[in-house]
């Protein structure tokens, strides 16, 4: 981590005028489905994340992980909708919120860190103003007080010269700085749940590591519940307590991170991990394992979504959708050996 963030955090114990000292809340997602018109991006996703824990949600592009994240953060585009199911943060079902309650839940209950910070910042406003706005408009702080809060938050996310950065426009900042600004904005109101949608994908590797440890540090400090979406198993290994693997709009495996890495049960997870280990850890020029075929686009196949690419496919897989089984280590595969449901 950068040198100054630790020292600043001590002086920045009280964040935001509301919810001071508040902790995270558990997230319980129950059979959540997300649809864009006729197309189902997410089907019957169920998982939970305990207070202050980090769930790594892994999947390829098009697996539905971003749709799931946007649905939980209530930021789906107008053409997308939650078709069924619930997502509870503490005792609030965010999918049922509307109007003023929804407006207040965004950012105070659930905050969202997007993948592309450069597009997510308004190009015509200074960075500080964009953070200060939260305090100005939500808490009627005057300009100076709101600006002071913004500068304090910028310092908190490890920016060395926060006053200077606050005066800059997004296009004058580096990718890592922009993402730090987005993080400052996300934590401004101390959300109970933080949804991070591949926040490090657009960054180079060293900056990526800094951002990961920054988010982890902030998350631990406030015991915020964190849902971290990524396609990178390496990132999951660094940050996640639990892992959920998505494929074709369904969660195919959900277990503590250690269990997933040491004893993956789903053929897709196994393939994903072996391509990751051969890719990153193998000797140079050793063959690089890939998963045959391509993930489904537009049309999700009947039966198990992974069956067209699965080496172990049986007739049953082609017709019958496998439901999640097992306790603690849950997997949606007809062939996997699991400990029976409690």
């Amino acid at each position: 981590m950068t040198a100054n963030s630790g020292s600043v955090s001590a002086g920045a114990a009280s964040t935001g005028p509301a919810r001071t000292g508040s902790e995270g809340q558990p997230l319980v997602v129950d059979r959540l489905s997300v649809a864009y018109g006729e197309f189902r991006a997410v089907t019957d996703a169920s998982f939970e994340v305990g207070t202050g824990r980090v769930l790594g949600l892994v999947g390829e592009s098009g697996s539905g992980k971003s749709s799931l994240a946007l649905a939980i953060a209530r930021l789906l585009p107008p053409e997308g909708r939650v078709a069924s199911g619930t997502a509870r943060v503490g005792d609030v079902d965010v999918t049922a919120l509307a109007g003023e309650a929804l407006r207040l839940a965004r950012s105070e209950l659930v905050a969202y860190i997007p993948q592309d910070a450069s597009a997510a910042l308004n190009p015509v406003h200074r960075a500080g103003r964009q953070i200060a706005e939260v305090f100005r408009l939500r808490y009627q702080l005057d300009d100076a007080a709101a600006q002071a809060q913004a500068v304090r938050l910028l310092a908190r996310v490890g920016i060395r010269r926060p006053e200077d950065t606050a005066r800059r426009y997004p296009h004058e900042l580096s990718g890592g700085m922009r993402q730090r600004v987005m993080i400052a904005m996300a934590i401004a109101l101390r959300p109970a749940l933080l949804v991070a949608d591949e926040p490090t994908t657009a960054l180079d590797v060293t900056v990526q590591a800094e951002i990961i440890s920054l988010v982890r540090e902030l998350q631990e400090e406030h015991r915020t519940t964190l849902l971290w979406i990524t396609h990178d198993m390496g990132v999951v290994a660094e940050i996640a307590d639990d892992v959920a693997v998505m494929y074709g709009g369904r969660i195919v495996e959900h277990a503590p991170a250690r269990a997933v890495f040491s004893a993956p049960l789903h053929p897709y997870t196994k393939a994903l991990l072996s391509s990751f280990t051969t890719g990153r850890l193998a000797r140079p020029k050793a063959p690089f394992e890939t998963i045959e075929g391509a993930p489904p686009v537009g049309q999700i196949p009947p039966g198990c979504p992974f069956h067209p690419r699965c080496p172990l496919v049986t007739d049953r897989c082609r017709t019958e959708v496998p439901l999640p089984r097992g306790s603690g280590h849950r997997v949606a595969c007809h062939l996997a050996e699991v400990t029976p449901d409690g």
Partner: protein, 307 residues
Amino acid sequence: MLARKIAVRVGLAALTVLAVIAGTFVLEFVIPANPARVVAGPKASSQVVAEVARNLGLNRPEWQQLLSYIGGVLHGDLGYSYVSQTSVTSLLAGRLPATALLMAAGIVVELAVGGALGLWDGLRPKRSWVLASVNIGLLSVPTFTFGFLLLLLFGYVWPVLPVSGGLGAAQLVLPALTLGLLGAPYYAIVVRDQLREVLPAPFVRTALAKGLTRRQILHGHVLRVVVPPVLTMAGMDVALFLSGVVFVEDIFAWPGIGQLQVQAFSNVDRPVLMGTVIVAATAVVVMNLVVDLLRLVVDPRVRAESL
């Protein structure tokens, strides 16, 4: 750096005006009409016409006329009207405020009507047939037809507004509406398209994620991005407006530059005609310059590109 950029732009603007002068001069000599004959009257003998032509300096070679005219322009002398013998500068100065007022009123109507229509349509989840039909209706009517239509409706059928012309608030309404309503469709389309582009942008989603209200998002984030292109368009629109102003002033007897231009044209009053063209050309380049500078102020990204 910025000062140098502005200096270059001003220089280019001056060159543009010079080019317009030369072009108009050529066009004036192509028109098959003899100003001396018009000044002397249809019954004058050919000796009188020749005498008038000599007095007006028309018997000199064209290139000499052009050069002495440009020389005069550089000294602020636009010559004298063939018809009234008064100086063109004073004629223009007397007419300029009226035209400026009409144009400003027209632009206000244009922005208000076009902006409102565009916002209304752009903020709906789906396109509406209302905007499309209003636009087709307005765009398919020529300026002069629309002017006469308004004149007929509000001057005779339902006589609530004066038709007689002159400078005044009541007299301003119809010509401003004619100009503004005919320009509004373009603004409606630009505003609508901008909204359709900006609303799904990730930074609008960020504003939503902050828990801002719809109004706060629209004012603080969306409109700040939508307005600069509209400004640019308003600046370029001055050219279009000036051509519309000519008809509108003539129809509504609004005593501005346009009316002066129409009179000068039928009288083959070359110095006056040229004066109005210079005013129009200058207005266009100046407005473009103003818009560029405004965009520098409004949009920090433009500032970054140009500095």
